[in-house]
Symmetry: C2
Subunit: 198 residues, 2 copies
DNA sequence: CTCGAATTAGAACATAAGTTCTAGAACCAT
DNA sequence: ATGGTTCTAGAACTTATGTTCTAATTCGAG
């Protein structure tokens, strides 16, 4: 029933992701997306209510993709070695998802979801922070027997923030993180989490 | 000769910095700057050739301000302890310059200088990377007797990238970095630079 | 005091980009 | 075939924003 669609949500989202990764979120105009897939601008609005919704969706997809992998890796960790492996996950993920990494590491949520969210995304977004908090807390409990604020701060620094800082310069130059970074990240994990009593 | 000016470059730059820090670069419209200081929009153009030039200038001011302090601190360092002190500089700087920090740590150069630079700024910009490279290289030479690519990578990670990663989440929430971060940053420095033979 | 220059003041203009609208085409069920 | 539906196609509309323009104002110099 109805004419067959030439342009789907996926095509548009993919084009938008490429534009955002290569030239930044402000380059993701409706006209640019349309041009990238050879569609008229109006067709975008047959698939998305607004540019906002499209951008929010690609952002959420990327965040979920990373977080799912990271949490999965962390779930099997219960000691410093496991933590080091989880800390290296970001660098590995970047090697396989450079475009997505450029969204996640080089920009803000605000650049993609700057106003009213589509309700479906509100739901997805609401689970993100709790899920990450639970994953970090669970690891802390397994590895150190407790998950107080100070331990969580250390774990977050060692497993997420410091690796992010190390990786960002490479992503910015459109390169994957080099292997030698893994050694530095692991050393950081051992130094920051090593002294914690069980 | 001529009417006395009510609005100077400084007023405009300060207003723009505040806007950028609080609501992001895209909120720094010419109209918003003018409104913030109670000036007509046209007056902005008596002081700056374009919005571009204004944004580029505040960006460059902030980068130079940070880099000057960091390099000064690093210049007195010649061992691991000095390195740890330099690594903590960013967190200290953020405590005293939260607005500036939000520009430097939360955004890209691209958001502020997205095209043709005013010639005066090209000159200032050209010295930034060399100066930072020289500072890091100088420290490496003093502390380890050499400054090859691998050492420099470690120093940059320990003194700049990892601290940046640790600080960013706090700046994002408009908070200064807590003291406990300094301990983690120092531990990172010792772990990453500690094993290097002299 | 008058003239010229720099500035305020704010309207006017130009452009870019998101969104909506109108036509027409393609498809399916009846 | 026909009608309803979903899409393409792209023009038209709207709004936001950078920039320029015109007029009035205020200052110092001669």
């Amino acid at each position: 029933m109805g004419r067959i669609a030439k342009f789907g949500r996926e095509d548009m989202a993919r084009a938008a992701l490429e534009l955002a990764a290569e030239r930044g979120p402000q380059a993701v105009t409706v006209a640019a997306i349309a041009a990238a897939i050879g569609a008229p601008t109006g067709s975008i609005y047959h698939r998305f209510d607004s540019r906002e919704e499209l951008l929010a969706e690609i952002w959420m997809d990327v965040v979920e993709s990373f977080q799912r992998g990271f949490i999965e890796r962390l779930a099997t960790a219960s000691d410093i070695d496991g933590a080091a492996a989880a800390a290296c996950f970001m660098a590995e993920w970047v090697r396989g998802h450079l475009r997505e990494a450029r969204l996640l590491l080089l920009h803000h949520r605000r650049d993609f979801v700057s106003g009213k969210w589509p309700p479906s995304l509100v739901e997805r977004a609401a689970t993100l922070e709790p899920a990450m908090g639970a994953a970090l807390g669970g690891f802390a409990k397994r590895a150190f027997g407790r998950a107080d604020r100070e331990i969580i701060a250390r774990v977050r620094f060692a497993l997420l923030d410091a690796p992010f800082g190390g990786i960002k310069p490479y992503v910015q130059e459109n390169k994957a993180a080099p292997r030698e970074l893994d050694a530095m990240v692991s050393a950081t994990v051992r130094a920051v989490l090593g002294g914690i009593a069980r």
